[in-house]
Subunit: 502 residues, 4 copies
Amino acid sequence: MAHKHGTGREGIQFANTEDKQEFSKYPTKAGRRSLSRSISQSSTDSYSSAASYTDSSDDETSPRDKTQVNSHGSIDFCVKNIKQAEFGRREIEIAEQDMSALISLRKRAQGEKPLAGAKIVGCTHITAQTAVLIETLVALGAQCRWTACNIYSTQNEVAAALAETGVPVFAWKGESEDDFWWCIDRCVNTEGWQANMILDDGGDLTHWVYKKYPSVFKKVRGIVEESVTGVHRLYQLSKAGRLCVPAMNVNDSVTKQKFDNLYCCRESILDGLKRTTDIMFGGKQVVVCGYGEVGKGCCTALKALGAIVCITEIDPICALQACMDGFRVVKLSEVIRQMDVVITCTGNKNVVTREQLDRMKNGCIVCNMGHSNTEIDVASLRSPELTWERVRSQVDHIIWPDGKRVVLLAEGRLLNLSCSTVPTFVLSITATTQALALIELFNAPEGRYKQDVYLLPKKMDEYVASLHLPNFDAHLTELTDEQAKYMGLNKNGPFKPNYYRY
Amino acid sequence: MAHKHGTGREGIQFANTEDKQEFSKYPTKAGRRSLSRSISQSSTDSYSSAASYTDSSDDETSPRDKTQVNSHGSIDFCVKNIKQAEFGRREIEIAEQDMSALISLRKRAQGEKPLAGAKIVGCTHITAQTAVLIETLVALGAQCRWTACNIYSTQNEVAAALAETGVPVFAWKGESEDDFWWCIDRCVNTEGWQANMILDDGGDLTHWVYKKYPSVFKKVRGIVEESVTGVHRLYQLSKAGRLCVPAMNVNDSVTKQKFDNLYCCRESILDGLKRTTDIMFGGKQVVVCGYGEVGKGCCTALKALGAIVCITEIDPICALQACMDGFRVVKLSEVIRQMDVVITCTGNKNVVTREQLDRMKNGCIVCNMGHSNTEIDVASLRSPELTWERVRSQVDHIIWPDGKRVVLLAEGRLLNLSCSTVPTFVLSITATTQALALIELFNAPEGRYKQDVYLLPKKMDEYVASLHLPNFDAHLTELTDEQAKYMGLNKNGPFKPNYYRY
Amino acid sequence: MAHKHGTGREGIQFANTEDKQEFSKYPTKAGRRSLSRSISQSSTDSYSSAASYTDSSDDETSPRDKTQVNSHGSIDFCVKNIKQAEFGRREIEIAEQDMSALISLRKRAQGEKPLAGAKIVGCTHITAQTAVLIETLVALGAQCRWTACNIYSTQNEVAAALAETGVPVFAWKGESEDDFWWCIDRCVNTEGWQANMILDDGGDLTHWVYKKYPSVFKKVRGIVEESVTGVHRLYQLSKAGRLCVPAMNVNDSVTKQKFDNLYCCRESILDGLKRTTDIMFGGKQVVVCGYGEVGKGCCTALKALGAIVCITEIDPICALQACMDGFRVVKLSEVIRQMDVVITCTGNKNVVTREQLDRMKNGCIVCNMGHSNTEIDVASLRSPELTWERVRSQVDHIIWPDGKRVVLLAEGRLLNLSCSTVPTFVLSITATTQALALIELFNAPEGRYKQDVYLLPKKMDEYVASLHLPNFDAHLTELTDEQAKYMGLNKNGPFKPNYYRY
Amino acid sequence: MAHKHGTGREGIQFANTEDKQEFSKYPTKAGRRSLSRSISQSSTDSYSSAASYTDSSDDETSPRDKTQVNSHGSIDFCVKNIKQAEFGRREIEIAEQDMSALISLRKRAQGEKPLAGAKIVGCTHITAQTAVLIETLVALGAQCRWTACNIYSTQNEVAAALAETGVPVFAWKGESEDDFWWCIDRCVNTEGWQANMILDDGGDLTHWVYKKYPSVFKKVRGIVEESVTGVHRLYQLSKAGRLCVPAMNVNDSVTKQKFDNLYCCRESILDGLKRTTDIMFGGKQVVVCGYGEVGKGCCTALKALGAIVCITEIDPICALQACMDGFRVVKLSEVIRQMDVVITCTGNKNVVTREQLDRMKNGCIVCNMGHSNTEIDVASLRSPELTWERVRSQVDHIIWPDGKRVVLLAEGRLLNLSCSTVPTFVLSITATTQALALIELFNAPEGRYKQDVYLLPKKMDEYVASLHLPNFDAHLTELTDEQAKYMGLNKNGPFKPNYYRY
């Protein structure tokens, strides 16, 4: 979810103020990916026995204070409870079923072990899906050490399962800020082992290595970074001439973008609204603010289910697309009184203002699919004349003095982060992209990549897509020699110029 | 959900065996409606504070053994805990927001009190939505006594709220079979009050009166029945010459049918699948068995979200519709190996056989939207060579000896009964239809209705629809005198012949 | 097209004034079917060589004054030019390709010749598709004599081809009123041959037999009537106790209705608008008046192509359906200023008034898909202050004094009659229905049908559908014995109760 | 139509063989735009009185041999018949109604006359829509001389109308090759007038100036080129270091691309198939080869109308999109036997081979929406064992020895070029883009543009879009100062980075 944010870690400060400055100018136009099944557990508690096992754990001792040993005798890890390994294993196995692209990658590349010799230090969400990635990297020959990029998102039982198989994992759900940096440090700073590849999600690991162990970069062949935030930091380093190894921006690959935004939002907008409000879509008047990929996904789904959708836009090109796709383009203020649902997808701030909230009709639902928690001016609702009533988890009724209620979801944070789930298939695409980027950087001949930020080569983007086609029983056509010549293409791709819009 | 069943009350026996016989021949082609938010609480536990209040109640005393008094001093009720009344009131108020048709009916009819003198005994699910109906009947002049038609579906806090305002309610969640009939009896058999109208959902109340208090029918002006099962019983009584009062079949009104089947399934199929499996719909191969209203609703939604849908049908007319609507019509056995999801919507039995289950691919999801739990041959899966693994509530993995897993939802029972919710709006249509049927029967001049089963007059069906149009800010056009004359229509309807197909 | 009219034969009077009176009260709510490729030739002139051959024929002699002989020496026919037979044959062969249901019927029933002994007199449009029907009847054993139900719709070359093979046909394009009745008379009144079955489209043939040769009815086993008008006449005769043989109303069979209205309009609305105006649909604001089957078909297609559609309705049930399907329900006057296209589908009159025409914006397109030419008040536009400019065939610009132009299509007559074509497949369904109705009536045991008007038995309706499924490579599922028993159904149908809404 | 070709001018040779060589390597992956209402007149003959006026003109004298004077006394033009001016004027006026963006541009820019001093020589199709462009340029201050880029596409009456108002036009329908170059020469080579801007469509005018009047480039401030072919030529010149003025590639602007491909094909695929075959779309099995913008447009429309669509692809990314959009991805050979319609949209050659044509079923329709006439191997069908039968204009039946017929449309040339029309709105977008490019190049400060090929600045692309929003009554939202700052955007745009995919 390139456009999504919500680390819940606002309190964490960079040690070096200068650095913080460097990044603080960035409008955090999006955030690091943080969606996974475990994160939205609140909505699925009743379904997941593994999750409830985790939740019911009332061991209050900090993992840092416990001594744990896995069944192989290793103590080089730090997780909540190594005994949860078996439960975690089952979650990983279930995830594997929907991540056949990675399994297939294991098979294809296993003979040659393209990551033999790679020592990867990773900092990502630690979920069943990430575990499938890590175990794929290991199967391809890599040694891995891992930590969490988010203090809340770790699936403890999955971390346990990884630790049990011998991957040094340092992560648990509910870390303190101090824990967070301690875990990263334990990952990087270990006797007799030095990373030569970095896989990062958000840039904190990279940041830590820069600050504490700059010499590590002498051996590092490259950084793979997934999040918008982390990518932004890398570009800033590059601009400042301080990037000392090649870096791969996997966030902007075509496949990832389309799945994270268009396709994923098409599905999650319905799910998020249903789980929170049980709304009937048919005949509802909905305004979607913003007709980018996220907005397009939302509009498609809502229209298909019988909602009457109009959009707001600042960009005339997107507005013209909306017209052609059958949506009225309006100003929010013109329609606000009639709307049953207001959804923001702009990446901007204060798209829904207090004045507009004042004019909404009774029962209007307001939520955000776009970015962080800036789009709806939620702060303006925290005023004495309004009553907040929490009616369900993630659902507040804001009550005006005249009794009018506005239904605010997830307090204006990302709806699909908070109230729906992300299909494993989407995570599979991201994980496969990361694996390929690691292989590419690790094996690239000297000189192919300089100290700069690169996009994944289109051919590898195409390869990621091709690995996922069997899920759909899709059969690709191959160019004949004659056709390839006629088109001026290599039969194995890439098939499109870089600027192709898809 | 006229087509849906699942009372969870298979153990309940009719006292009179003969009678049981009478009904047992009926294939229970559908069942009594039992969907409401509270019923599917398992899927929304984490959202509903009221519900969790109820759930956390660990008072194990039977309500029959407790003495409770409401704040007006009345003891003529029996609920779980009268102290929950305030919570129930809030649930009712929230429901009122989406049931403006009933509120509007209250206002329009309040002056004339069309139910003044009516003494209604009711037996329905007891939920916030039913409460809005009951309080509407009271506002229109009726006296009501109420009991539950299902031993599991009562929202205890709502029952408490009703009891608190003075409606004698006899119902709680988790009644025994004996409790069930005791409650009905307490409703009917009370000193100094005799019902003159019956509102039934499933026919059990009607049955009880027939058995125990047949003299009551001397005063009863009519029965309003909502469920397929109850309607079927009435038609059988009528055929047998034993129906001794007019009865109104509200199950088959156009508006109710379309909402319960086509529109509601269009929304709930997505919801049910997401909440249980987090499936991504895009590109999934789905076979829908049956292209009636339920199947049409499912197909529309799934296709719209990017699934590739084919259907099976026995009826060539429905099959031809499927073709024209863009769905391949296949035999299940031809496609079963390729399918990602199999959904039954036929009302028939053994539509998915063990042999077909054997041939499904790994990970195939199987569920039922149609009728009862007969459509999938679940019994055949309870054999020793197969392993069942419960992975979430309502989700079982059936594991074949070779490791293949089939994902069975709700053990083959109705998916949207078990795993999704019904929008209040749908319930509003049913409740309004019931209210109008009661008004019609109670006020009909002598002789208009004989001892027979009647459909709601089309004009009243149209009136129900018109009461719900303001929810959509829909503006009806009125015929001019000239136009009405040209069409040979009354300006106030009815606008269509009875056989019109909509 | 049950809802469509436009015979262009307003001048034709019934001989008997009394009779005329009888029918004149009828609001001609629909008309006789008159769509076929030949009728909309104006739109396809350039494509059809056969058609242009016909058009270029400048032989001005009346067929009645010519002596023509077919190659078998027969002179028992009257067509424009027997020499066109070969061209007509090719048109028939092309039509056969899309009418495989009739071809299949020929094969299935040919052994037993179910129409052996049938002497059918027919009065329908004479087109390639009708020819396939007639030749099917002959193949099944019938003798046929045929005439045209419309003075403009005959494809001369097809009539020639039929005459050449020995079917006595009396019809040509551009008959006078006198010719029309002369042809009917020649069909009925012939030495040594007396009809025992009547196939009528509009009721004129039936009328003529009633007036002139009532004794014919002694031998007639039944009438099959297709048009709304003809069916209405039959019901009136029946009510008046004057219907002296059984009659079959094939207009109201499910299959025919769905194809003639919903599916056919879904396709023809786009075609009709494109051929006349080259309009781009994307983003156009369209109001559709009426949300019956015709309106539903139009709305579906237009929305799918990116138009923004709202509807007007008088019936709250249809209005509620429109809401749930995602269309705003408005009054025409509220939106008329913003609309790019106005389409009427009501069956009513003066749905679009002069006042509304006055308020339309420049360039607004107005057309009728509903009924006759009454829906738009075209007469009101024929006033001196407005200028009419014919810009294309079927397209008029009405110019207001201030320069505003309204684009009126087909002068308010049926758009898809005038400006688009009807797929052969739709005609195939009607023709198959007619054939089966003839077989049923001719073979029914004495007493099954009385002197009344009957609907096609549902089982035969299902059979018509099943004959068309192979076109879609659709595979029906068969009930098992166990399933049939469970459902209480015969394995061969009928599968639904009569009131089923599909 | 960036992807479309069909100049009908294969015979025309470049004088200089070397040059020809230079371009002949180019696979003419697309062609110059040549769609407009007049071009597809064959399909609309019966509607357009103006067109028929032109057609009926049987004056066989070459315009070059006639002396004509317009009403102002000028003889500086050469058209078919100056007397047709009045008819042409009406066509122009009708076109103006749908080109309000240009009219609006006239109004906005008229005060400042941004093209005052511009002397534009143009070579484009000469149609009513082009006339609106030319007259807009004049209104903005330019002097124009014009000629046709295609020997068949000139609307004679429009050329006359332009000549009558004083624009020197040299063009008529049906020029010989010699006429073609003579007209270009007369445009460029005139006493006392030297062009300082070039507007070209296909590159022939540019070529001619290069060859004959290279000195003209000393004064020329820029070239605006619209076609793929012309743009390709310019890039080649630039690569070769021979481009001596700035050039603007308007073909690749976002707005133009989306409309020419996605949106326009969405509409024209239905239109083209209907006008040629009267096919019913519902239930048809269709395979679309290629899922680029053209394929996406075709698939969307066909699926929406009830066709069952599958696609073929060589590019795994596009294939994955197809999966997510609900289309099965297959190899053509796997499905060819079942298909009712085969549509090519690849830009490649021999996508449909003779072997596949041999395996198609009877009645299968084959057509090309992609590129030139290479996609279907039509040549392979010209073999003695197959019979060709022309059944309508643009429709051939290819008949196999066993009687099987394949329906080939437009002999494999572009379906929407040959058999449907292009909405004026699409042409308006192109024309507006051309006008803005001319203004930009003419007014750019010295040095902004070098001797290179430029894309239209995104801001102007956005401006083109914004000029077309009023057609849809679309209301853009404006950024607040705070929001613009937060996003780091200028309030007036551009709003997206160059690589944004829309």
